[in-house]
């Protein structure tokens, strides 16, 4: 059974009286433990695909299954639970909360799961050690380099031990060396059995995946 399954997914945006389809009948499976890249030009539907895969928005038509569960009829709070427990996000702009330290940022999704602060921080520290930031735990995002911030974001994505890591242009805001470092961390995680879906427009990154799909005009080609 695939961990993610998109079945004839359409996403149509209403722009005034005009309907603009961003995804047109996409069928797409990701198996457990797989490393998949999704590429495409700007406007190809990559971001919409990410939002649908990450349960951040619902399709206009079609079905989305995460770990065999149909998410299309779920309430906002049920979708939040899926995002919290099944998916770990890594964003291009890191999206760390500026008022929180590295360890507090990492612990945040656990706190949403009603885990105590003490236990969440303990787990966050272990993960920061794992991504090589053991000595930067109490630094705020503004005190960290781009590469370090992205590694904090990766640690945050792992904190609830999700099935899937969804990385949106994970190296997009990084220099080559930092980008390589981040990719290595992600690939190491894939090596431990995590499902990794990377959305990118960079060919070299897409080629490192076990399987690649391309989007054009809202369709997989």
């Amino acid at each position: 059974m695939p961990i993610i399954k998109l079945d004839d997914v359409w996403k149509i945006y209403q722009m005034g009286k005009v309907e603009v389809p961003a995804l047109r009948g996409v069928n797409f499976d990701v198996n457990k433990g797989e490393y998949v890249s999704i590429t495409g030009q700007s406007g190809s539907g990559k971001s919409t695909m990410l939002n649908i895969l990450g349960c951040l928005s619902s399709p206009t038509r079609g079905k989305v299954y995460i770990d065999g569960i149909d998410t299309t009829t779920m309430s906002d709070n049920e979708l939040a639970r899926i995002r919290r427990e099944k998916i770990g996000f890594v964003f291009q702009q890191f999206n760390l909360l500026r008022d929180l330290t590295a360890e507090e940022n990492v612990a945040l999704p656990m706190r949403f799961n009603k885990v105590s602060k003490r236990d969440a921080i303990k787990r966050a520290r272990e993960l920061l050690d794992l991504v090589g930031l053991g000595k930067r735990k109490t630094h705020r995002p503004t005190e960290l380099s781009g590469g370090e911030q992205q590694r904090v974001a990766i640690a945050r994505a792992l904190v609830n031990d999700p099935e899937v890591i969804l990385a949106d242009e994970p190296t997009g805001n990084l220099d080559t060396a930092s980008g390589e470092n981040v990719v290595e961390v992600l690939e190491k995680l894939h090596g431990t059995g995590k499902t990794l879906v990377v959305i990118t427009h960079e060919a070299y990154l897409a080629e490192r995946a076990e399987r690649g799909v391309s989007l054009m005009d809202g369709k997989i080609v």
Binding site: L56, A80, R81, N95, L100, L108, K117, N160
Partner: protein, 378 residues
């Protein structure tokens, strides 16, 4: 996640501090005014507690009250005791007494003339003579006086001293009453009624105080006296107390009005600050939702911030009110004794809580409804 809430609040110290000051001033003002109202009420109750069962009767003419009139008063149902009284001012300018009211000094000496058996009605049966003795039954007709402790100390008077009522008219001080804390007693000169009447050649009594057997009958007795006896004015202290109560009620209404305005202003301040905060943190809130925070989690987080700001404002307001009441008490020379009651404390904190929730709801609702897809694009 209260620690995260405090982090957010402390992240904008100046803005939070200004909001808290605004709320504190509003709440502090209401509580201080309320405490002054409570103090006035308690003071009034204290002042009237000893005379609640009393009707004062005086002549409506220059004639005074004759023995015949006083007998008629005694015969009225509900009357327990009739106490004649008269006050006189010394013609001498040797005396002055500092009062407790903002340190104001009154000049002259005020003589209260009563029958010796009635003196306890004025100074209290528990109050003793600190030096010498109180008036005794056979003092009527003698030139003797007992004085309050403050009058004595301000005018260097001891037992055996003489007080001048008029040129060559001297009263010998036979006792000094212990300090009571009440200006009425501590600055008084009490002399026998018969002595004064003889001195002033008065046939009639100026005023009588009528004690009533049951406090509930006071107003009935006052109106019975007024209706059945000619040329008298009868009034009860209860009716005065009721009048003062009505004034205090109006003051309380005004306080509530000020409170309502403060509530609206403070509520708007919290709301503006929270709307600003939510607008600034839209992206952070969107990230939180993307990471799995539910609508309720976001709603609670923003509401908590508003409530904590409101409560800190409430507690600060209480402290300000406490300081203000001390200042008011000191400035009035102890005349005004504001009281911060548990009810006022509960009101301040309850007010702050409701304010926080009320003002936080709209921004919290807006924050909880943010679309993570939209906010992540920012």
């Amino acid at each position: 996640m209260i620690d995260l809430t405090f982090k957010q609040i402390s992240g904008h110290k100046l803005r939070t501090a200004l909001t808290i000051i605004g709320i504190a001033v509003g709440i502090g003002l209401v509580i201080a005014l309320g405490a002054i109202g409570e103090g006035l009420k308690a003071g009034m109750e204290g002042a009237f507690s000893g005379v609640a069962d009393v009707v004062q009767v005086q002549s409506s003419t220059q004639e005074g009250l004759s023995e015949e009139t006083i007998d008629k008063i005694r015969d009225i149902d509900g009357v327990e005791r009739v106490i004649p009284i008269a006050t006189y001012v010394s013609h001498s300018d040797k005396y002055s007494t500092e009062t407790g009211f903002m340190g104001i000094t009154i000049s002259g000496a005020y003589f209260t003339a009563v029958n010796p058996e009635d003196q306890d009605y004025f100074i209290g049966s528990e109050i003793i003579a600190e030096e010498g003795r109180k008036l005794e039954d056979d003092d009527n007709g003698k030139m003797v006086a007992v004085v309050g402790s403050k009058f004595a100390s301000d005018n260097d008077i001891a037992v055996g001293s003489e007080i001048e009522y008029d040129e060559d008219v001297l009263f010998e001080v036979v006792g000094i009453i212990e300090e009571t804390g009440s200006d009425d007693t501590d600055t008084s000169i009490i002399v026998p009624l018969e002595t004064m009447r003889e001195l002033e050649e008065e046939e009639n009594i100026r005023v009588v105080v009528v004690q009533v057997s049951d406090v509930d009958l006071v107003e009935d007795v006052a109106s019975d006296i007024q209706e059945s006896i000619d040329d008298v004015i009868a009034f009860s202290y209860i009716s005065i107390a009721r009048g003062v109560s009505e004034i205090l009620g109006a003051v309380n209404l005004a306080v509530m009005g000020i409170g309502a305005i403060s509530a609206v202003v403070a509520g708007l301040m919290i709301m503006v600050v929270m709307i600003m905060s939510v607008t600034e943190r839209q992206k952070d809130l969107g990230v939180m939702k993307a990471l799995g925070a539910t609508t309720t989690t976001i709603l609670k987080q923003i509401l908590e911030e508003a409530v904590i700001i409101g409560l800190i404002g409430g507690v600060t307001g209480l402290l300000l009110a406490f300081i203000a009441t001390i200042a008011v008490s000191a400035l009035s020379g102890g005349l005004l004794k504001p009281i911060i009651t548990p009810g006022l404390i509960a009101l301040a904190l309850g007010f702050a809580l409701v304010l926080g929730i009320g003002a936080g709801l709209y921004p919290a609702w807006n924050a909880s409804k943010l679309d993570p897809v939209e906010t992540l694009r920012l």
